[in-house]
Symmetry: C3
Subunit: 230 residues, 3 copies
C-alpha cells in the first residue's frame, strides 16, 4: 500500500507488501525489502537500502508507570544518503541517520537520536532516547545504549556492553544522565557503565569491567569495580 | 486475512495484511499495526495497541535435545485492557498480560507467564516460561528472565540483567529453579543472578554484580561475587 | 508471491503473504509461517518448520567503516531435515543448519556458519560469521557468538554469554580470532570470553566470569578475572 501523498524517486525497488504511509519521501536508487513499514512523514535520501520486515518512523508510546511521557511533538525520521538498515529493525520518529550509517538486523533506535556519518549500530543493538552519537563510531552487536548518553567521534563499543542512567533505579524524580564516552575511547565486550560516568579521550575499558567512576583520558581500566592498570 | 470465526469489536483499526486466525476475539477501541499475526484463540481486550510485525499467540516448539517438551495443552493468550505491545515482538499462548501492561519492541514472552497490572517488559527483553511477574514491576531493556522465576510487586530490574535456573548447565535431570526477587528489590544493569538465589524485599543489587548467594532484605550487595556493603 | 522458478514439495503449508524468491527449493511436509521471506537460492529439506515474519537467505551488506567486506560469492542457505526456526529471525546465505537444529525467535545467524546436528541456537541469540558449531550444542537465549569462533560438540553456553575476537578493538588490521570452546565445556550465564581464549574439554566457566586466559580441560574457573577453583 503506497499512500497517494507519498513521493517516490527514480530507480526505487519496493519489495512485496511494503506499506508507505502519508507524506513519506523516498529519494533515488533506493531498495526497500519485503513487508517493510514506512510510517508517515519519514524522509529517505538516495542510495539507501532497507532490509525486510523493518519499521521506519515509529511513534513513541508508554504506560502509566513510565515517567518519560511521549508528550512532545516528534519530527520525522530522516535517513540520509548511502544509509543501510537491516531486517526486523525498528527506528523511531525524530531520529537522524547521517550519510553512510549502517544499522544491523533486529536493532532499535528510539526518538531524539542523531547517529553521525559512517557510524555503525550493530545487530540487535538497542539505542534509547536523547542521545548524540558522533561520526565513525562503532556500536557493536547487542550493545545497550541508555538514554541521555553522549558518544563522541570514533568511539568503539564492544559487543553486549550495557549502560544505565538512573542511579536511584526508578525510586525518585531525579534528572537522568547516561555515561559520556569521549573521542576515541574503546569499551570491551560486556562491560557495564554506571550512570553519568565519563570515559576520557582514548581511554580503554577492559572486557567485562564494571565502571563506577570516571576514567581519565588515555588510561586503561579493568575489573569489578574497574581499576586503572596503566 | 480475517478468519470467519474471529470476533472483532467496534472502533478497531487493522493495519495492512494483518492475519487474524480462527476464534480470535478483539475488543473495542483497539489498534493493530501492519503485518501483525494474531494466532488462533487469542483474546484481546479494550483499548489495546499492537505495533507492526508482531506475533501474538505462538505455540511452543522444541527439538530432540530439549528437555522441556511442549506436551501440555496451552490456554489462549489473554491481553487485558489498556495493554500496549511494540513492534517485532513474539508473545506465546498461555500468557496473561494484565491491565495496563507495556511490552516493548523486539521482546518475547513464552508460555505459562502472567505479567501483573501496569508492569513493563522492556524492549528486547526475553521472558522464559513458568513465571509469575507482579504488579508495577519494571523489567528494563534487554533483560533475560529465566524460566521458573518469581518476581514480586514493584521490583525494578535494570537493563541487560541475566538470570539462570540450572546449576548443572544441562548435565542432569534436576528440577530447575530461577531466582526469586522479593517485593521492591532493585537489580542494577547487567547483573548476573545464579539459579535459585533469593533477593530479599527492598534489597539492592549493584550494576554488574554476580549474585551467588541469597541477599537479605534491605541490604545492598555489589561485586563479583556479590558482597554486602550496607 | 511464489517465483515461477521455485520448487515446492508435497504437504507444504504456506502462511499468508509468504515471499518465495527465485530458485528456492522446499521439500515435503514443511510448514512456513505468515509474512516469511525466503530469499533466492535457499534450499529447505523435509519436515522443516519456519515461524512467522522470519527472513531466510539474507545477503551480507556493509558500510565504509567495516573492514570485513562482503566481496565473496556466498553459497545458498541450506536448511536440512527436521529443522525448526522461530519467528522474527534472520538467517543469512552460506549457512548450513544440519538435521534437527532448533533456532529460536528473534535470533540471527550470519554467513559462513555451520550449525551441527540437533544443536540449539536460543531465542535472541546472535551468531556472527565464519563459525563452526558442533553437534548437540546448546547456545542459550541472548548469547552473542563472535566471528571466527570454534564451538565443539556438546558444548553448553548459558544465557547472555558474550565473546569477542579483536583485542585491538578496531585499531589495527590484525587477524581476528574468537574463543575456542572444546568438547563438553560449559559456560555460565553472562560470562565474558576474551579474544582467542581456549576453553578446554569439559571445563566449566562460572556465571558472570571474565575469561582472559586459557582454561585447562576439566577445570572450573570463576570470577573477574577468572581463576581456577578446582
Amino acid at each position: 500500500m503506497i499512500h497517494a501523498t507519498a513521493k517516490i524517486g527514480n530507480d526505487v525497488t519496493l519489495g512485496e507488501n511494503v506499506v508507505v504511509e502519508e507524506n513519506v519521501v523516498i529519494g533515488n536508487h533506493v531498495s526497500i525489502g519485503h513487508h517493510v513499514v514506512i510510517k508517515k512523514d519519514t524522509i529517505i535520501g538516495n542510495y539507501v537500502q532497507i532490509g525486510d520486515l523493518t519499521v521506519l518512523g515509529k511513534t513513541t508510546s508508554s504506560n502509566k508507570k513510565m515517567t518519560r511521557k511521549p508528550g512532545q511533538i516528534l519530527n520525522p525520521l530522516i535517513i540520509e544518503d548511502h544509509v543501510t538498515i537491516g531486517c526486523n529493525s525498528v527506528i523511531y520518529r525524530h531520529v537522524t541517520l547521517e550519510n553512510g550509517v549502517f544499522v544491523g538486523d533486529l536493532s532499535s533506535i528510539r526518538e531524539m537520536v542523531i547517529v553521525g556519518e559512517d557510524s555503525i549500530v550493530g545487530r540487535n543493538a538497542i539505542v534509547e532516547t536523547n542521545i548524540k552519537i558522533g561520526r565513525r563510531v562503532t556500536i557493536q552487536t547487542g550493545c545497550y545504549i541508555t538514554a541521555d548518553m553522549v558518544i563522541e567521534d570514533e568511539v568503539f563499543i564492544g559487543p553486549c556492553c550495557s549502560s544505565s542512567n538512573d542511579k536511584y533505579m526508578g525510586m525518585g524524580n531525579y534528572k537522568h544522565q547516561g555515561p559520556i564516552i569521549c573521542k576515541g575511547a574503546k569499551i570491551g565486550n560486556n562491560a557495564t557503565l554506571l550512570p553519568a560516568v565519563i570515559i576520557g579521550e582514548n581511554a580503554i575499558v577492559g572486557a567485562g569491567s564494571v565502571i563506577t567512576k570516571d576514567v581519565p583520558a588515555n588510561k586503561t581500566v579493568v575489573g569489578n569495580p574497574g581499576k586503572i592498570i596503566k
